[in-house]
């Protein structure tokens, strides 16, 4: 295989891994914030 392909694969992996990690944090935060909002509404009612 061409050496450049290995370079491309390595950098693609780095950015994909970081993107997935950030995405997982964002999804978790959105889900939790929704749940907290819902719980707060329930307590007020």
């Amino acid at each position: 295989m061409n050496k450049i392909l290995f370079l491309f694969l390595a950098y693609t992996f780095i950015w994909t891994a970081l993107f997935i990690f950030l995405l997982s944090i964002a999804r978790k935060l959105t889900f939790m914030q929704k749940q907290i909002k819902q719980l707060k509404q329930n307590t007020e009612n």
């Binding site: 295989m1 939790m32 914030q33 719980l39």
Partner: protein
Amino acid sequence: MKNIKLTYLVLIVITYMLVLTGLYLAFIYAPPEKTMGDVQRIFYFHVPSAWVSFIAFFVVCLAGIIFLKTGKEQWDRLAASSAEIGVLFIVIVLITGPLWAKPVWNTYWTWDPRLTTSFVLFLIYAAYLMLRSYVSNKERGARFAAVFGIIGFVDVPIVYMSIRWWRTQHPTPVIGGGSGSGLAPEMLTTLMFCLLAFTFLYITLLVLRYQSEGVVKEFQALKHKLQN
């Protein structure tokens, strides 16, 4: 609250600019290596990833010690957040390393001391995260995890020293590796800059992860309050 949000924003923007500049230096500024060619550019993100994993596991160890002393939950939260980031970066090291090794050594993997100890480091902290998620009693789990995180850190200096203690296939250290070691000035500048950029990336990820963990705790506290 506004000030905190502004601080996050500034931190994210600084990290973004540093990483972009790091990419420019790694691909445009740094010259290609004589024998390996362009594939050597993996080095500029492979080494900083290892550096970040070491810092992350050091924070796990330190936060674990403080948690065991004080019992304050925020230290446990910091350790858990840092461990996740450490595992992410050690996985990056374990993937980019073999991708660099294949065209240079003609093999993806060899059970060389540096590679083996790095793999063991990954296993230790992967087990740490599994321990945290499987223990039902959260308080006890946090204490177990703190002890595990502290003991696990013993492997970090072993990984670092492995290329000095044993003759390995992995290259000898390029900084402080004795006579014959060293880098061209442009390569050294690029490496140092990427180390700085990745340190900022670690801080940013840690702040974000720590905050998200705080939201989870807030949710659990609110739920507990409601149940009572």
